[in-house]
Symmetry: D4
Subunit: 155 residues, 8 copies
């Protein structure tokens, strides 16, 4: 109880003392590993070898794993799907239609990939990271595996 | 008065003395900061977190600011929109139709991005720089914020 | 008062509800701009044209400004000095000796620059960002200007 | 028993049937995860936040994890140490002296980093991968954590 | 006979002793050279100058040869076609329709090229490498030459 | 006369003595400069500021000039148009239709740009280099200027 | 006379009307070509084949020429020497001692090269560009050729 | 006899007709393959697995082969050694002392590597290409294998 009280004080003082500081949320490493293992487990059940990337709000790797014998394109695919999901705060599958329209679209933004398989990690209404999966025979499967990972994260 | 006269002489002599020198105009750092602050203010009023880039005629950064919690895609988006606007001397929104036409278009020129949000800084009829904004829910909003920045520059 | 109480509850609940979330601190955009303006003011007083970079703990730009007529090497210098300071949690001038020793040293780590001019932004004992300055005739001056920026940040 | 016999037949036939095929060994994904978790556990015990990379004989990522709040330089450091260890088949700490000698040395080979913290995964006398760790206050500690990971791999 | 028996024992023991090791198959260097020579021979018969790339499952070069006077675009074309073929386990010509459809497709995956001329090297049902050819007047010819190379590999 | 005879002998002996040597033709530096000056002169007559690139069969720069105040996109545009023209042995304007067709086309080959403005330098039926121009209001004008340069080369 | 008077007025009005505009000086394209030709002439007299780069204050190419048969390292050498000279406002030969000292020096700043052969173009006390030369047997010769180019520029 | 006479005429006419054309010599593809096979044979005799690169005067790949199980650092090492040898027209082992001296040296030129193992292919006194080898336990061995390749080229 005392510990909680202390913590509260600490947090309150932080809010008042440091007007020039702002906080960015991200998932913990342990949560990223647990999510990645769930992704791999789901993919392997279907005999698929995938790469899984977990990135933070800055687009930086928290985790990257390429499963045994995954194709050489899966690493970058997984990363870009996650980058796209955290950038737009939506699953890449929600964005595919907009990106694939005629003319100039968000498709042209560098480092994005609008194939299904990227899902945002949303906390208090804001995207704080994303999971991206590549390597299954279809993007829908990639997304299903990404969601299996997402389901393990306690928000 | 004497000072102005001296200045005039200085400028005139420059014109005659150095035939091998040419001048490139660019906005001042202070103007770039003032413009960026106007961009951020306009975007925040709508609760949007954006990145703003100000570049010169060479495509080089004068200023880059990413607002608190802006997405990882906004930095490069803002830069490329500004690059595109200064390259073609027009707002990117004017160029979207041409870039998005069928077949080979200016869309293929490297480092460009033809989404709305880039506006040129025009001085004596020539583009001397540009402001690019990325991160709002639509390109039209990005452009509105970029124009709020442009409005602060005295040309 | 009610507002504070509510805030406290909010923070406490966050701590308990989301074991998979961790927080990364960074300075606000406004603080970054204020710091940069202090850097430029200090440098201009000595008639020096510099570039100033403010980066976060991920090594990502919060702000980059190159003053009028700053050399082409200053942008990357400022960024790398800031990167180095936030990586090691010390001013680059403290690291110069270690980096410059015989044989293999931290000097070899990619994207670092151990010239003076980078200072960490430290909050609760941890580096949460850094200011890097390049373009003055000596690294000591670059560092003095960076410190002028740091002095404006309320931690 | 039958299963083993079948396996033996399978392997023998492979050897005879495909003279144009050669095999490259690598550790499994599961082994890479287990090793990485051991690295993180050892580092956290000392309150250090590190990045850990596991790569294969081709220098390609099997796994990359950056622990909560690890510095921005740790990802590339971990990767390059692992790259160096698998390239030369020795811990990077064994190579530091040779790399740091006067004049032209192996230090100049691209993508290498000869700071301690990279250890090869050796199987039947050949390096088949490596673990690289970056972010501890000294390279010796990075190596100790890398070895904690190596100890979990059954060869 | 003794030798075979010994080999069998060796392989069996490997299977049991090293649960953390997995094997990746690739073609031998000699097979890659023989295949490349067959590619060149077929192309020259038609007076075409091509580049030929042989890559492994990791997308890494086993071999690259640019024939006398081949165009500057052929090296990267050959590599990317091979990368694409080994990534998807099919000739690039099989993938052209899917990649060229409306909207977002596999076409957007980085480092791919879906023009005809890339053929996978398939062993026991899995792509273990690929041959890519560029520089002939049409992709169909490039593919024919790639297949001439593939025909020399004993699987 | 003696000199010619000597030269003939020299060339003949070369042909016989060095079966392992082959020759690549390229235009001389002086020819490249003369061509570039003709490009600039033609462009300036119409008050256009362009960049002009002359490259060899390897896609390497022989010459690059960006005229006063040319846009930041012109350097890379000029280079890529020249790269494309020497790769395919035709003016880029001839290739625009093929590149801009539906689905997968030569448009996807890296480092190409199929806008008008690139013309090959053809010698004895083979492309030995190219001139690329960028920066005029239309590709047709870019091509006209490139052709003005080509006209000065004696083949 | 009237023309001069008009010009004076124009310049004066510019100074008063546009406080947010600043001017960057650079040499003209024609001056760059003339300088480059002088560099080549001087080098050829000694039978040396060099590359020559002329860059502006932003480090951007105004001109690049590689003479017939110049080595593949000369292009980047010439560019980096020029980059270094314009960054520091001195010939690279003046900087060699400082860059080559023990420990951390300006040598570590990205994109620099402190071998002799780069000379700044100085106008009114400020570096507005530079000429860089690479490919002669010694840096001193490279510098002599660069100076031959510099001598043709009227400042 | 008639054929030779015709050839002579052809060559002579070329010399007179095309003053704007110059010739660059390079080794043939077949010579490159033969040389590479000799390199591999020599290395394998000592049980070493190496990468071998053959490049032309432009620094562009004619051939790259990485032997079975060669380390991930060998490809770039082989290429850079060859690049260095063709740039300076000498074996890299001749250049090691100069490159490894105190202060600023040729060591700083981009894309070079001054470890032994690169040998130029010299024709009529000029470097027209180079062979680079990497992966043996010492540079001297790499050079011996490179020389075994060089010995097969008829100049």
């Amino acid at each position: 109880m005392t510990k909680i009280f202390f913590l509260v004080l600490l947090l309150v003082s932080a809010v008042f003392a440091a007007a020039d500081i702002t906080r960015v949320n991200t998932i913990t490493t342990d949560a990223a590993i647990e999510a990645a293992e769930a992704v791999l487990k789901a993919a392997r059940k279907a005999n698929h070898t995938v790469a899984v990337a977990v990135i933070d709000r800055n687009g930086k790797y928290r985790l990257l794993i390429t499963d045994d014998n995954a194709g050489p394109q899966t690493e970058e695919s997984a990363k870009r799907k996650a980058f796209t999901a955290v950038s737009f705060g939506q699953p890449t599958s929600n964005l595919t239609a907009a990106a694939g329209g005629d003319g100039v679209t968000i498709h042209d933004i560098p480092n994005t990939l609008f194939l299904a398989g990227g899902v945002p990690i949303t906390y208090r209404g804001a995207p704080i990271g994303a999971i991206g999966v590549g390597g299954a025979p279809s993007g829908d499967m990639d997304e299903a595996y990404a969601r299996a990972g997402l389901a393990t994260i306690h928000l």
